[in-house]
Symmetry: C2
Subunit: 345 residues, 2 copies
DNA sequence: TTGAAAGCGCTAACAG
DNA sequence: CTGTTAGCGCTTTCAA
């Protein structure tokens, strides 16, 4: 056990008979140091298993090489993959990531951001609740590098990495139409969120662009939860007026539809065709497997991470960030994944 | 934008006309400070939106209030829930968590642990690959607080929070037996891992304890992946000798079984009954829903987090950790969750 | 109840 | 090529 007081750069310097400056130089791979000296120092470092104290270092260089990742819930099937992308990219640049789930609670978001700022993270990747433009404003005024993920809060200066929800929904519906379906219902996501709204817009646009009838009673309001998908399907069944196809604004709701159909002995895809959105991993494990619009979740995380680190580097170089330093939003493509739930019969 | 150089304790002191010591005192809620002074300082802090620099603070108090979480893959359906537990508990104590996925790669594990130690995390929660006892030894010698999660590396001094895999498997099989099934097959997990081995042991024990026939050809080696479950099932089908029930060492493999059965038109639970292990969230979303042994994943994370923080506090108090400071392993109970895949018909 | 001063472990001019 | 010195922003004796 033995306490083994942490060994410092000073100890190394002494053991080598050089100054701490010199040790610092070899630590940071600066050029101006005699090869022989360098070798000696390196050896002692190795032997004593010395690791520089990152905090002390951070304090003086004013950079921690860590970033914060703030998401609604790591348990939400959408986020682990995103998180992994963020982490992998961060690690490539020797950054660490501190993460925090907020359950979309304003107070929580506030709190964890505060905590992270005290820890002096170099920047933040955030997926915030809509109501929180104030937080972003405050971050702006403190000149903190931030990139938004998945959701973009309007009128924020910070760039976002996300998909085009409207276009993606449009493509989903267009696919159904191309397959020959005319009566297409939509189960919306949470309409308090931008993705929820945008996906509904995409649905409407596709219907109209194809000169199909846009019936308001074919639009059912959900909230992205499985249960809401289940209930929407129950409503359709109760109405006695089944559509030919359903576009659910996300996969979880599509799973709810699947379940309701099973109970009602409605066969998918024979009696009703179904498409979801997001391609969460489960969607390939249920039966019938879900046709869906795949979000490049891993890549979203990776790009956001990369963008943030680029921003941090700019700030580090210039001393601060100005409007023109921010990148344009990055919109990644979704991709149709055809599976059983829309199979031709 | 404006750079707005970070404001420091010194600035506050000046604006208040007091010394930094005094400001520090109110910051840390020390008693010895005049109420009136305290109020004044607090006001200025509030007005200037000042946040103390955590790094500087950490440097002197030698504690960062952050812990590292090292797991194989946040994408593995088992871990997000665990991570959430770790995080929630950490947050309750104002700790942050830095996380890292290692894919069970020794080199990765080594690297991220090193990175975290440089950042001076106060402790580590780890779920390491079996081969990595050396890492733990090194951590011990550096007197780092650590708790193991899910898997325990033998002969390590560090406590673990986990389930009793053997007993849990035993209970699963006993349940099948109690339901009246006699021919029960087992698809093992990765036998290079302790959980894989232990679950097989539990299966064997239950069979023997109940005086059933332990047939080696009823044990199929898998590796925890869905595919391996699928293939095992294919083998059973090909052999023309179906069991009455199957215990799959985890849910993913059970999912593979489900799929293979669908292809072969074997009905579950009518023709064959199936139980998995872990209760990953998917298991309730497939059809038929999977009967399984539920791991208290969230709680595992929470307990591990709590144990680690307790350890950190002890170390902080005593200056170092000795053998007798470590807690006993914490073994949490799994619970049978009955669902469709074992429904009586 | 308050402040001066030393120091946490490191980096970065500056001088030699 | 190397060392001296002055901090980074905070806490903590010690004295007043």
């Amino acid at each position: 056990m033995a306490a083994g007081e942490n060994i410092t750069i000073k100890d190394i310097a002494e053991r080598c008979g050089v100054s701490v400056t010199t040790v610092s130089r070899v630590l940071n791979e600066k050029p101006d140091v005699n090869d022989e000296t360098r070798a000696r120092v390196l050896k002692v470092i190795e032997d004593s298993n010395y690791r520089p104290n990152g905090m002390a270092r951070s304090l003086v260089i004013n950079q921690t090489y860590s970033v914060g990742l703030i998401i609604p819930d790591i348990n939400n099937p959408y986020f682990p993959e995103v998180a992994r992308g963020v982490e992998d990219q961060a690690q490539d640049s020797s950054y660490s990531v501190i993460f925090s789930s907020t359950d979309n609670k304003l107070e929580q978001e506030q709190e964890v951001i505060d905590l992270m700022l005290q820890k002096r993270v170099d920047g933040l990747i955030v997926s915030l609740s809509l109501a929180n433009r104030d937080i972003l404003k405050r971050l702006e005024s403190r000149n903190i590098p931030v990139v938004q993920l998945d959701r973009k809060i309007p009128d924020s200066i910070y760039p976002a990495v996300m998909i085009d929800n409207q276009q993606s929904a449009y493509k989903a519906v267009q696919f159904l139409i191309d397959e020959g379906y005319k009566e297409i219902a939509h189960i919306t996501g949470d309409l308090q969120t931008v993705p929820g709204q945008d996906r509904e817009d995409g649905y409407r646009k596709a219907i109209l662009d194809n000169d199909l009838r846009l019936a308001e009673d074919m639009i059912f309001e959900g909230n992205f939860s499985k249960r809401s998908g289940y209930e929407a399907m129950e409503q359709m069944i109760a109405s006695g007026n089944l559509p030919e196809a359903i576009f659910a604004a996300n996969d979880m709701m599509a799973l709810g539809v699947l379940e309701a159909c099973r109970h009602a002995e409605i066969r998918i895809p024979e009696d009703l065709v179904l498409i979801g959105h997001d391609n969460i991993s489960i969607s390939n494990l249920v039966y019938p497997a879900l046709t869906t619009m795949a979000q490049p979740k891993y890549k979203l995380g990776r790009q956001a991470s990369k963008m943030l680190i680029d921003l941090i580097n700019i700030k580090q170089k210039k001393g601060s960030l100005d409007k023109e330093d921010f990148f344009a939003d990055q919109i990644l493509e979704t991709k149709l994944v055809r599976r059983g739930s829309t199979a031709r019969v």
